[in-house]
C-alpha cells in the first residue's frame, strides 16, 4: 500500500487519535451527530453521499473474489454519486492528500476497511486515516453507517487537527466535510478496529446482519458463478460429448492445450491486444476525465455523451467501426483519400488489425474508466493544487506532480479492470474480422468459442476457459495487492 505512505508534506503530523474506539459501530449510525462541531453539520449530506460510492463498489468484492467480480457501480450510481460523493473523502483529513487517496480507494471498490487500517497503522496523520475510515465504514455496514457516532471528543479532536493542518482553508467548505469524515476515521484507525470489540457479541451480531444482507448476492454468486466455475473445472477433465456421454481423461485436455500452437497463438494475440487496448483506453479515459473535470459548461451533458458508447452494444459498435474501417468506401479511407493518402486496409492488414480493433474497443469502453477517473479527479482536494499554484507550479506540473500521484490508486484500478476486460475480448473480433486475417485477431476467447461451439469439444473448451479464468484471477490478485487487502 504505497499509496497511503505518509506524505512528505506533513512529515511531522501526530499519530492518529486513539480515542473514540466505539465510533462507527452502530449499523444504523446517522451521518453526523447534531452536536458535532459546526462544520460537521454543514457537511452531513456530502458525507453520506461520499459513503455511497464506496459502499456500492465495495460491496462487490465482498461477494466476489478478486474484487473485480461483482457489480461495479452502475452508470447511474456513478453519474449521480461521485461529484458529491467523493468530496468528503477527499477533503477528509488534514492531510487531504492522503485522504483523497483513501477515498479514491474506497470509490474503486476494492477492499473495504483496508486503506484505513494500513494508513493508520503506518502512522499517517489522523485525517488521512479518517477519510478511508469513512469509506471502510461504508463498506462494512452499508451507507448509513459511513459516519459512525464518534465521541464528541474525537470529533473535536479531529476538527482541531484538521484546523491545524489545513490552516486558513479550514473555514472553506472543502474543509468542513473533512471534519465529519475524520471523526469516524480516527477510531477506525490502527489497533482499535481490530481490538477487543471485534469478537464481542455485538460484533458477531453485526456480522450476522451483514451476512444476511449479502446473502442473496452470495447465493446468486455461488449458484451462478462459483458453481459453474467448479463445473467447468470438472468438465475440463472429461471428453464430454453432445450425446451426454463422457469419460474422465485427467489432464489430457491441458497437455493437449500446452502443445496446441493455436492456443499459444491466440494467447499471444490476446496479450498484444491487451497491451494495445489498455493504454489506449486509459489515456483516452484520463484525457476526457481531465477535460470534463475542467469543463464549466455542460459537464453533465458531455459526461453523458462520452459515456454513451459504453452503454451501446459492442456488436453495434463493431459493425459501425467495421464500416468506418472499410477499404472500399469506409469513412476513414475516404478521409485519407481527400488527404491524398491510402487506402489503408485497417482490418485486412495483419499488423494493423489489432490496433484498429483496439481503437474501436477503446472508443466503446473508455467511458467507464473515464467516470472512475473523473471521480478520482474530483476527489483531489483543491487546496493541494492551489498550494501548488501558489508555489508557482505550471498547469502541467500540477497535473504531473500533484494530481497524477493522487490519482494513482484509481489509475491502478482502471488499469487492472481494463486489462481483465481486454483479456476477454471476443465480440469485437467476432463481428469485425472473425479472427482474421490469418488469425491475426484470433483471441483466446475466440479459440474457446470455436472449440466449444463450433467443434463441440466441450472438455477442451472448458480447459481454455479455466486457463482464462486463472489469468483473470492473477490480474485480480495483482489489483488486490496494489489497492488493498482483506480487512482481516
Amino acid at each position: 500500500m504505497s499509496k497511503v505512505e505518509p506524505r512528505e508534506a506533513f512529515p511531522d503530523e501526530p499519530e492518529p487519535s486513539e480515542s473514540g474506539t466505539t465510533a462507527r459501530r452502530g449499523p444504523a449510525a446517522r451521518p453526523a451527530p447534531p452536536d458535532g462541531p459546526p462544520p460537521a453539520t454543514e457537511a452531513v449530506p456530502t458525507t453520506v453521499a461520499g459513503a455511497a460510492p464506496g459502499a456500492v463498489a465495495g460491496s462487490t468484492p465482498e461477494a466476489a473474489p478478486g474484487a473485480v467480480a461483482g457489480a461495479l457501480p452502475s452508470p447511474g450510481e456513478i453519474i449521480g454519486g461521485p461529484p458529491a460523493g467523493v468530496r468528503p473523502g477527499a477533503a477528509a483529513g488534514p492531510d487531504a492528500a492522503a485522504g483523497a487517496d483513501a477515498a479514491a480507494g474506497a470509490v474503486t471498490g476494492t477492499l473495504p476497511g483496508d486503506p484505513s487500517g494500513v494508513a493508520s497503522s503506518r502512522g499517517v496523520p489522523p485525517g488521512a486515516a479518517a477519510g478511508p475510515g469513512a469509506a471502510a465504514g461504508a463498506d462494512a455496514a452499508g451507507p448509513g453507517a459511513a459516519v459512525g457516532p464518534g465521541t464528541d471528543a474525537t470529533r473535536a479532536d479531529a476538527a482541531a487537527q484538521a484546523d491545524a493542518a489545513t490552516g486558513a482553508v479550514a473555514a472553506g467548505s472543502p474543509a468542513a466535510p473533512a471534519v465529519v469524515a475524520s471523526a469516524p476515521g480516527g477510531p477506525a484507525g490502527p489497533g482499535e478496529a481490530r481490538g477487543g470489540g471485534r469478537r464481542g457479541p455485538m460484533r458477531r451480531r453485526e456480522a450476522l446482519v451483514g451476512l444476511a444482507f449479502v446473502a442473496p448476492m452470495l447465493l446468486l454468486f455461488l449458484v451462478f458463478r462459483f458453481g459453474p466455475t467448479l463445473g467447468a473445472a470438472f468438465l475440463s477433465l472429461t471428453d464430454y460429448r453432445l450425446s451426454g456421454e463422457w469419460t474422465f481423461i485427467g489432464a489430457a485436455n491441458y497437455t493437449r492445450l500446452l502443445e496446441d500452437d493455436l492456443f499459444w497463438e491466440s494467447l499471444g494475440v490476446t496479450a498484444v491486444y491487451t497491451a494495445l487496448y489498455v493504454p489506449m483506453t486509459v489515456l483516452l479515459a484520463l484525457g476526457t476525465a481531465v477535460l470534463l473535470h475542467r469543463a464549466f459548461w455542460l459537464r453533465g451533458f458531455f459526461r453523458g455523451l462520452f459515456f454513451l458508447p459504453y452503454v451501446t452494444s459492442i456488436v453495434l459498435a463493431a459493425v459501425i467501426w467495421k464500416w468506418i474501417y472499410e477499404v472500399e468506401d469506409g469513412l476513414l479511407n475516404a478521409a485519407l483519400g481527400v488527404l491524398g493518402a491510402g487506402p489503408v486496409d485497417f482490418l485486412g492488414d495483419e499488423s494493423l488489425v489489432l490496433p484498429s480493433i483496439a481503437a474501436a474497443s477503446a472508443w466503446k469502453g473508455f467511458g467507464y474508466s473515464m467516470l472512475i477517473l473523473l471521480v478520482g479527479l474530483q476527489s483531489v482536494p483543491r487546496e493541494v493544487t492551489e498550494a501548488a499554484t501558489i508555489d508557482g507550479a505550471s498547469a502541467w506540473q500540477r497535473f504531473r506532480w500533484v494530481t497524477l500521484p493522487l490519482l494513482r490508486p484509481v489509475l491502478f484500478f482502471v488499469l487492472v479492470i481494463e486489462a481483465i476486460q481486454a483479456f476477454q475480448v471476443f465480440d469485437a473480433m467476432y463481428v469485425m474480422t472473425a479472427g482474421g486475417p490469418v488469425r491475426a485477431s484470433y483471441s483466446l476467447v475466440y479459440f474457446l468459442y470455436d472449440s466449444g461451439f463450433k467443434f463441440f469439444d466441450f472438455g477442451y473448451a472448458s480447459a481454455v476457459g479455466l486457463v482464462l479464468f486463472l489469468i483473470v484471477l492473477v490480474f485480480s490478485l495483482i489489483q488486490r495487492r496494489l489497492i488493498g487487502r482483506e480487512e482481516d
Binding site: 461483482g70 458463478r225 466455475t229 451426454g244 467495421k322 485486412g348 469502453g365 481483465i420 461451439f453 466441450f458
Partner: protein
C-alpha cells in the same frame, strides 16, 4: 457491466450449465412427452409472416392427419444455430425433430446427438434425388430426410457489365479473367468472394476447388486432398484476381453476405455462390432488369455450384421416436414438398415432385440445380475449414504463395484428421 470476473464466467457458465444439466438429468427430460412432438424450425421462408402462416398450416394439417399427436413447431433464428443446438443436445433438452443440413450431420452424428431417419422415409426412399440422400448419409444411414433443396448460382450486375462494355456475362474462369481488366477500367471489381472465418468454404473456396477438378478429402476421408495441382490452380486463380483488385479488398471480412457488402453495394460485378433470395434482393435494389442469374460457373474441369438439401433429423435422445418419424414421413409427402418449395422458393429434393415457381429466376436456378454439389460431408469438415481459411487469407494478403498456403493447410489438416477417431 464490464467486470472481468463476470465476463470470464459467462463462457464458463455456459459450458458448465450445459454439462451440469446434462449430467443431472441424463435421459431425464429429453424431447417431449409421449403424445408430443417438438420441432425446431428456422426461417426457411424469408418473409416472417409467410413463414409463420406456413408452419401453422403444417401443424394443423399434421394434427388432423394424426389424431392424438400434439405437434409444436418452434421457430428459431439462423444465428448461432449450431451453438444453440449443441447446448440443447448437450443438456438433453433438444427438440424431437430438427432441421439439419448435410454439413451439420457428420459432426452431430459423430457426437452421438442424432439418430437415423431411415424408418421414417422407408416408403419414399427411392423417390429422392440420390445426391440429396447421399448428402444426408453417414455410414450407410440417412440422418436427415430432405424436405427441400437449395441452389446457388452466378449473379451478375448488368449495369456494371455494360459500363465495362461486356455484353456476355462471364460464365467461365477464362471469360472472367478476360473481363476483369475491363471492369477494373470501369472502376469496379469483378468477383465477389468471402474470406472471413465465419464464411463457410462451401460458399467460397470449395466451389472453385471443385470447378478446378479438386477435392477436399480423399476417398478414405482420412487425408486431405485439396493440396493438389487443382487446388493450387483454384487458389492461384483467386489470388490473381485479388491482387489485381478484381476481388474486392473487403472480401477478407465478408461472410457470404449480400446486403451492405460489395456485391449488394454494386462495387463488384458478379458473384458465383448466390442464392435465389440474393437474386430477388438484387432485382429489387439494383433496379429491374439489372440482376442476371446465370448458369453455374464453369472452371477448367467442371461446371459446379453449391446447393444442398435441407432435411429433418431426429434427436438421439427423443422420447417420442414414433411421433418424430410420423412427422418426418408427413413432411416428405409430395404435397408438403411442393408446398414447402413454393413457400420458401426452394427446389424439390424428390425427382417425382417438381415445385411450381413463379419467381423471376426460377428457370435459371432450376437449370443450376443439375450442377449442384452438396459438399463433402465429414465430421471434421468445420475444423478443417477453420484451418484452411486463415491460409487462404495468408495467400490473399501475399504472406504466402498459394502453394505454401495450401501446403501448410494440408499439413495441419492431415494432423487434424489423424487425431479423429
Amino acid at each position: 457491466m464490464k467486470t472481468g470476473f463476470k465476463r470470464a464466467t459467462v463462457p464458463l457458465a455456459l459450458l458448465t450449465l450445459t454439462a451440469l444439466t446434462a449430467a443431472g438429468c441424463n435421459g431425464g427430460d429429453s424431447g417431449s412427452a409421449a403424445n408430443k412432438v417438438t420441432v425446431w424450425m428456422y426461417p426457411v421462408i424469408m418473409d416472417p409472416k409467410a413463414n409463420a402462416a406456413y408452419w401453422d398450416s403444417i401443424e394443423k394439417g399434421f394434427e388432423a392427419a394424426h389424431k392424438g399427436l400434439d405437434l409444436t413447431i418452434e421457430q428459431l433464428p439462423w444465428e448461432n444455430r449450431d451453438q444453440k443446438l449443441a447446448t440443447a443436445f448437450g443438456s438433453g433438452k433438444g427438440p424431437d425433430v430438427v432441421l439439419l443440413g448435410p454439413d451439420q450431420i457428420p459432426q452431430f452424428e459423430a457426437a452421438g446427438a442424432v439418430q437415423p431417419v431411415d424408418r421414417a422415409i422407408e416408403k419414399s426412399r427411392d423417390a429422392f434425388r440420390p445426391a440429396a440422400l447421399d448428402a444426408m448419409t453417414q455410414d450407410g444411414k440417412v440422418y436427415a430426410a430432405p424436405i427441400y433443396h437449395t441452389v446457388t448460382s452466378t449473379l451478375y450486375n448488368r449495369k456494371l457489365l455494360e459500363k465495362a462494355g461486356i455484353k456476355e456475362p462471364p460464365a467461365t474462369w477464362d471469360a472472367l479473367k478476360a473481363a476483369a481488366p475491363k471492369l477494373k477500367r470501369a472502376g469496379v471489381a469483378t468477383l465477389d468472394y468471402s474470406a472471413s472465418n465465419e464464411a463457410s468454404l462451401n460458399m467460397s473456396f470449395y466451389p472453385l476447388l471443385w470447378q478446378a477438378g479438386g477435392r477436399v478429402f480423399d476417398d478414405s476421408g482420412k487425408k486431405t486432398a485439396f493440396n493438389s495441382p487443382e487446388g493450387v490452380e483454384a487458389l492461384s486463380f483467386l489470388v490473381g484476381l485479388y491482387k489485381s483488385g478484381s476481388v474486392p479488398r473487403s472480401a477478407l471480412t465478408n461472410a457470404n453476405l449480400f446486403t451492405d457488402h460489395a456485391l449488394g453495394k454494386e462495387q463488384v460485378a458478379m458473384g458465383y455462390t448466390n442464392t435465389p433470395s440474393d437474386a430477388a434482393l438484387a432485382e429489387k435494389t439494383w433496379g429491374k432488369g439489372n440482376a442476371i442469374v446465370g448458369p453455374a460457373l464453369t472452371g477448367p474441369r467442371k461446371q459446379v455450384c453449391f446447393g444442398m438439401p435441407g432435411g429433418l433429423g431426429i434427436n438421439a435422445r427423443t422420447k417420442n421416436l414414433a411421433g418424430a418419424e410420423k412427422f418426418i414421413a408427413y413432411m416428405t409427402e409430395p404435397a408438403q414438398i411442393a408446398s414447402m418449395g413454393k413457400a420458401g422458393g426452394f427446389f424439390s429434393p424428390r425427382t417425382d415432385v417438381s415445385v411450381p415457381h413463379e419467381g423471376a429466376f426460377a428457370k435459371e436456378y432450376e437449370a443450376a440445380l443439375a450442377h449442384t454439389f452438396p459438399g463433402e460431408p465429414h465430421p471434421a469438415a468445420r475444423q478443417l475449414m477453420a484451418l484452411i481459411t486463415p491460409e487462404i487469407q495468408a495467400a490473399l494478403t501475399g504472406k504466402k504463395t498459394p502453394e505454401q498456403a495450401l501446403e501448410a493447410a494440408a499439413k495441419e489438416g492431415d494432423d487434424l484428421l489423424a487425431r479423429q477417431r
